[in-house]
């Protein structure tokens, strides 16, 4: 018999994804394993790359709007709002007060939708299947409301540059208010399903730890960063739309692990609920679309003088505008050359940074924990690959 010393072991390299139910889309991880422990994790992306930035450069400002729906396809309203704000800032278009409140309202609705889908799949990945069934019930309620607001459930294209497409009706607001009254009890329901569960604690506490300094260094944003105790929220540091007129808190974690990121998102449910209620209560009357809003056929020549930056070469003007999407900071860096099409449309998406940080987060954990870590960063490959 061979003695133990003579036995040779070697690391095993396995492929996780692109078709794997726990990678939330088409993420491929090449894992180098020593037994069950991950020594090295190399993420590969690009399976969903559709050349959105190139397409954006070849469409007019208004016509590029539907592209943004395809970024984070579980929270489409938040993407539309992010794009509209960037273009409005670039071209200097004002937004009516009522439209600002409606946008805030729909952004928070899509945040709840996105977080519901996150808790459903995250719990499912870890093995708690019941949460999935309960949470889809509330998501359906919101989806129906989206349909009543704009006629579409998933790819809404409801916000417009300079406002929103159409007004919201009283029935929608009544039903939404009813939702905000019922929803806090539902959050407690989800929490009872998993918060008292010892298996949940063991699978999430101390898993995927990243300190605040490292998280900032890796460019993490959103609840993934706030789980590490950094209160970085665009809605607070640079308020857009009606966020400066509503009250809400920014929940932060302190143990920097998967469990704290889960807690942050659960608290965000309550804060979003609070914001929606305030928006309904404070909703002013008035128009919902600015008369300056550009049409789809905005082919025409130079924009007017206020829209062009002076001193930056031949009439190039540029802005970077960020919004707090459900996953984190969604930024648009737009460069205008004075024509009706953007010269450059750069999209900074949160999932891109989160996918890059997976190699750091997964190192030293078990293969089963990789699934929990992917869930806790809330990846959507649509916005990662653009």
């Amino acid at each position: 018999m061979q003695s133990e010393k003579e036995l040779k072991t070697r690391n095993l390299t396995i492929n996780m994804g692109p078709q794997h139910p726990a990678t939330h889309g088409v993420l491929r991880l090449v894992l180098e394993l020593d037994g069950e422990t991950v020594i090295n994790c190399t993420p590969h992306i690009g399976y969903l790359h559709r050349g959105m930035e190139k397409h954006g450069e070849n469409l007019t400002y208004a016509a590029a709007l539907p592209l943004t729906d395809r970024l984070d396809y579980v929270a489409t309203m938040a993407n539309n709002v992010g794009y509209c704000i960037a273009v409005e800032t670039l071209l200097g278009i004002g937004v009516p007060e009522r439209a600002k409140y409606i946008r805030t309202l729909v952004s928070e609705m899509s945040r709840i939708c996105s977080h519901i889908l996150w808790i459903a799949t995250h719990a499912l990945d870890i093995g708690a299947m019941t949460v999935f069934l309960y949470s889809m019930r509330e998501r359906e309620w919101l989806m129906d409301l989206f349909e009543k607001i704009c006629g579409a459930r998933l790819l809404c294209i409801y916000p417009r540059i300079g406002g929103v497409r159409c007004d919201v009706s009283h029935e929608v607001l009544d039903s939404l208010y009813e939702f905000t009254e019922a929803f806090p009890k539902k959050i407690v329901e989800y929490e009872t399903l998993i918060d008292q569960n010892r298996i949940w604690f063991q699978r999430t506490k101390g898993i995927g730890v990243i300190s605040a300094e490292e998280a900032i260094n890796w460019g993490l944003t959103g609840p993934t960063l706030r789980g590490s105790g950094v209160a970085y929220d665009i809605r607070k540091i640079a308020p857009y739309d009606a966020y400066d007129k509503v009250e809400f808190d920014v929940p932060v974690g302190k143990n920097c692990d998967t469990y704290d990121r889960y807690r942050c998102r659960m608290e965000e449910f309550r804060q979003s609920n609070r914001i929606i209620r305030q928006c309904i209560e404070k909703l002013p009357d008035g128009f919902v679309l600015s008369p300056e809003a550009p049409g789809f056929d905005m082919q025409a020549g130079p924009l007017n003088k206020t829209q062009v930056q002076e001193g930056a070469g031949p009439s190039f003007s540029e802005v970077y505008c960020a919004t707090e999407a459900p996953k984190g900071e969604l930024g648009f860096y737009m460069i205008s050359d004075g024509t009706g099409k953007p010269y450059r449309m750069r999209i900074r998406t949160p999932s891109f940074a989160h996918a890059a940080a997976l190699s750091k987060l997964c190192r030293g954990h078990l293969v089963a924990d990789v699934v929990a870590i992917i869930g806790s960063t809330d990846l959507v490959l649509g916005e990662c690959d653009r």
Partner: protein, 178 residues
């Protein structure tokens, strides 16, 4: 801290390497010398008066025929301590498509520099793993350059993976329901 104050601080530290400070819609932009990019970035990250610890974004821009030098690498920074946003740019000429990598300063720059290489062909010196990120490894050309067509029929020069897909689609046509 006001962005202009931060820009003045950077200008004081590197007086000869900063060529232009512009402002539009309250956003300040500094154009810096690309040969000193690493020193400048190290300085703005480490200096307590600036402490730009957060690299929001890094991307490339192609100004073909509109500006000289042709390419620009744009860095968006944010300082959590001071609450200041800042945009830094470095121009990269077409005949010398290289710039120093800032992965040592911000780990988050790793994939962004790879993407910039993937889309514009700008080489980042000192990058630990400069490969294509979004496109396949055997892809030819740099799609976000302005001379790269949005749609084209390359025929035989088409990427090999695309040809395979077309073949499979042709074969599967036989099974289509009529």
């Amino acid at each position: 801290m006001e962005p202009f104050e931060a820009a003045a601080l950077i200008k004081d530290a590197f007086p000869s390497d900063i060529s232009n400070i512009t402002e539009f819609r309250g956003q300040v932009c500094i154009t810096v010398n690309k040969d000193r990019i690493k020193d400048i970035m190290r300085h703005v990250h480490d200096e307590p008066g600036l402490s730009f610890h957060f690299l929001i974004d890094l991307c490339g821009v192609d100004y073909m025929g509109k500006k000289e030098p042709r390419f620009e690498v744009v860095y968006h920074l944010y300082s959590m301590q001071h609450g200041t946003h800042m945009r830094l740019k470095a121009a990269v000429p077409e005949n010398d498509l290289t710039i120093d990598s800032v992965v040592d300063v911000w780990a988050g720059a790793n994939w962004r520099e790879r993407e910039c290489f993937d889309m514009f062909g700008i080489m980042f010196k000192g990058h630990p793993d400069l490969r294509r990120l979004l496109l396949p490894e055997d892809w030819e050309g740099y799609p976000l350059r302005k001379d790269y067509p949005l749609k084209s029929d390359l025929g035989e020069k088409e990427w090999s993976g695309y040809k395979d897909v077309v073949e499979v689609a042709k074969r599967n046509k036989a099974y289509e329901a009529h």
